[in-house]
């Protein structure tokens, strides 16, 4: 029985044993893992699909060339104009005001007064009302289309009157205004797809969270940290092994979340968005290059935050701050669009978000931009791991 001879493991040997155990341990916690995985992997694609549905409905409305009018029988001239513009005319329901307010009616209503035709003929400037509700987003968007239509009706009428008097209609428009949009198709889409990086960063955070808390505060709560430190293992090797498992889990969830956007594209209903949002395997790979350093850095940071806590619950409370700051950092970009400052690339979380946005806009990623984010994450990981090692020793020495 006493014929065994243990050979002291190398530093790397200790690391490997701990890493293997921590991965098995984390993967066995299936319930927690699934609960985190489902929102992390499904939320982004589902949000994208929902937004694309909204966009698609705008597009079809624009394509339909329909107009809802009340009292068109009083305005044969307008009716003639609308028909010439190939618009389908729909009569407004009697209770259109109530329907607009409750968002049951999605189109603005054009209301024509009884004396429209006579007033128009005598030049008395009849009034046309475009009724919508600014809280009803779809109706107010269609109101803009109706107004555009009526403006060109106005122009036609004015042009005709001037022509009758022998004046050129061009006098009314001394300047010719033309729009030129410089945004590429992908840049336009990024207004909608701007939420995508946020979900990917959240996936990284959630993937690393439980394992980070379990391997530090959880270990203290169970009373297994003390026996672990009574093994002849270098403490830094133990911490590295634990961190390896945490970072790998964060990376695995990040990878799944990235890949999930590929089938998600099939769910996009809006044709133009589908044309604009291109997320293929090369985007997956570039996205991972951006996110994996974050998974490593954030894993270490979460461990450092949790290791001071005696219980899992306490650790969850303290990690909330990290989670909130990280997942809200994309907001900075939303509030300050286009105002990317050089220091953005040095802030973990914000840097990844900025880089992801650029990638989705179709801009090329340069090493000069990616490198600061990788370096920042590496420094964050190194400092955190040093702190975890120190705190672990202190935690048992009391």
């Amino acid at each position: 029985m006493s014929s065994i001879s243990p050979k002291p493991l190398s530093f790397f040997g200790h690391f490997k044993v701990v890493l293997g155990k921590e991965i098995i341990d984390a993967l066995r916690d299936r319930r927690t893992l699934l609960r985190l995985l489902i929102p992390a992997v499904l939320m982004g694609p589902l949000m994208l699909a929902a937004l694309s549905g909204l966009m698609a409905s705008f597009e079809t409305q624009a394509e339909k060339r329909e107009i809802t009018v009340q009292g068109l029988e009083y305005a044969p001239t307008l009716k003639n104009y609308l028909e010439r513009q190939t618009y389908t005319i729909k009569a407004a329901p009697a209770d259109y005001e109530a329907q607009l307010r409750s968002a049951k009616l999605h189109e603005a209503v054009l209301v024509v007064g009884k004396d429209f035709e006579t007033e128009l003929r005598t030049g008395e400037r009849p009034t046309l009302e475009v009724v919508s509700d600014s809280a009803n987003q779809r109706a107010s968007i269609s109101a803009r289309a109706v107004q555009r239509l009526l403006r060109s009706f106005n122009q036609e009428r004015a042009g005709l009157s001037l022509a009758l008097r022998g004046v050129s209609a061009e006098l009314l428009v001394p300047v010719d205004v033309q729009d030129r949009d410089l945004a590429s198709a992908q840049a336009r889409a990024s207004q909608i797809t701007g939420i995508v990086p946020m979900f990917m960063i959240m996936a990284v955070l959630y993937g690393a969270l439980t394992a980070a808390l379990d391997s530090t505060a959880g270990e203290r709560e169970r009373g297994s940290l003390e026996p672990l430190l009574m093994n002849p293992s270098p403490h830094f090797a133990l911490v590295l092994g634990k961190w390896g498992a945490v970072a790998l889990l964060g990376m695995a969830v990040a990878t799944l979340s990235n890949i999930s956007f590929i089938p998600a594209q099939l769910l996009i209903q809006s044709d133009s968005l589908q044309a604009m949002f291109q997320f293929g395997w090369s985007e997956v790979l570039r996205g991972l290059a951006i996110q994996l350093p974050l998974a490593a850095g954030v894993g270490a940071l979460l461990m450092a935050v949790a290791v001071r806590s005696k219980t899992f619950k306490e650790a969850q409370a303290s990690s909330t701050l990290v989670m909130t700051v990280m997942s809200l950092s994309p907001m900075l970009g939303l509030f300050n669009p286009g105002g990317e400052a050089p220091w953005y690339y040095w802030v973990p979380g914000l840097a990844q978000n900025t880089l992801m946005m650029q990638m989705l806009k179709g801009e090329a990623l340069s090493v000069a931009r990616v490198l600061p984010s990788v370096l920042a994450c590496a420094v964050m990981a190194a400092v955190s791991l040093w702190f975890v090692t120190r705190s672990m020793r202190q935690a048992v020495a009391r």
Partner: protein, 266 residues
């Protein structure tokens, strides 16, 4: 062989206080000049009431923190100088002995075996041997999640002994065990002490007199951080002039207390 020479440890404890007033700090002498010799093939008991400094002493022995003064040697290796070499020669069951609930008993034991430097096959062979010694074959492949107190304790003990250490340190191992499990543990420790079991050096702490009386060859009686008496059970009975060990314990551990206080005051 474990040799403890004149170790002391004091802690600073924070007392009450309020938001505006900083709490006054109080110095607690947890261990004061404890010496102990535990040779191989002997079970040395550390007996004392709660708060006597037993756990603090054993935690210093395990290298979790350093003693303020004094030396601790395990097989002539200084624990504070070479903690990892010393830990490799000890199997320690501390007062915290949590298991990993999602791992089976076998996996829990093998994990520590691997960290102690055993290869995969040896570690598994050790699990079988220890399972027989501690009568825990039935629970080996169950996850530790649903273990009873006794099953947890057996697994933790097997985990501490997996590398077949020459020195075994147990801090109140019978806490929460029923009569049968306690008897089983006693048998196992007697076997480990015997030449067939490897003539281990065993240090065993407890606050239960009966345990120590039944098991230990040599008893160190601790009270208020000091060793107040030591010797075999008959020697201690004789010293106290009592026929029952409990009476001797109370007399030696608490009887001198007033005397000690007087010393401290003087």
């Amino acid at each position: 062989m474990i040799h403890i020479d004149q170790i002391s440890k004091q802690f600073i404890s924070q007392s009450g206080g309020s938001i505006f007033k900083r709490a006054p700090q109080r110095i607690v002498h947890a261990v004061q000049g404890l010496s102990l010799d535990a040779p191989n093939g002997r079970i040395t008991g550390l007996l004392g009431p709660n708060g006597a400094g037993k756990t603090t002493s054993l935690r210093m022995l395990a290298g979790l923190f350093q003693a303020d003064t004094g030396r601790i040697e395990v097989d002539a290796i200084d624990v504070s100088q070479k903690p990892r070499e010393a830990l490799a020669r000890m199997g320690i069951l501390g007062d915290a002995h949590g298991l990993y609930p999602r791992l089976s008993a076998r996996e829990n034991i093998v994990y520590f075996g691997r960290l102690q430097g055993l290869d995969e096959d040896t570690a598994h062979a050790r699990v079988e041997a220890l399972a027989e010694l501690l009568d825990m074959q039935r629970i080996l492949d169950r996850r530790a999640d649903g273990f009873s107190q006794g099953e947890r304790m057996k697994t933790a003990l097997a985990r501490a002994l997996v590398h077949d250490p020459a020195n075994i340190v147990l801090d109140e191992p019978t806490n929460g065990l029923d009569v049968l499990a306690t008897r089983g543990l006693r048998e196992a420790l007697r076997h480990l002490r015997s030449p067939e079991g490897g003539a281990k050096c065993i240090v065993f702490s407890s606050h239960i007199m009966q345990e120590v009386e039944l098991l230990c060859d040599h008893v160190v009686l601790m009270a208020r951080g000091r060793a107040v008496a030591q010797g075999s059970v008959p020697e201690l009975l004789e010293l106290a002039g009592e026929s029952r060990f409990e009476d001797a314990f109370v007399k030696l551990a608490f009887g001198n207390a007033d005397q000690l206080d007087e010393e401290a005051l003087a």
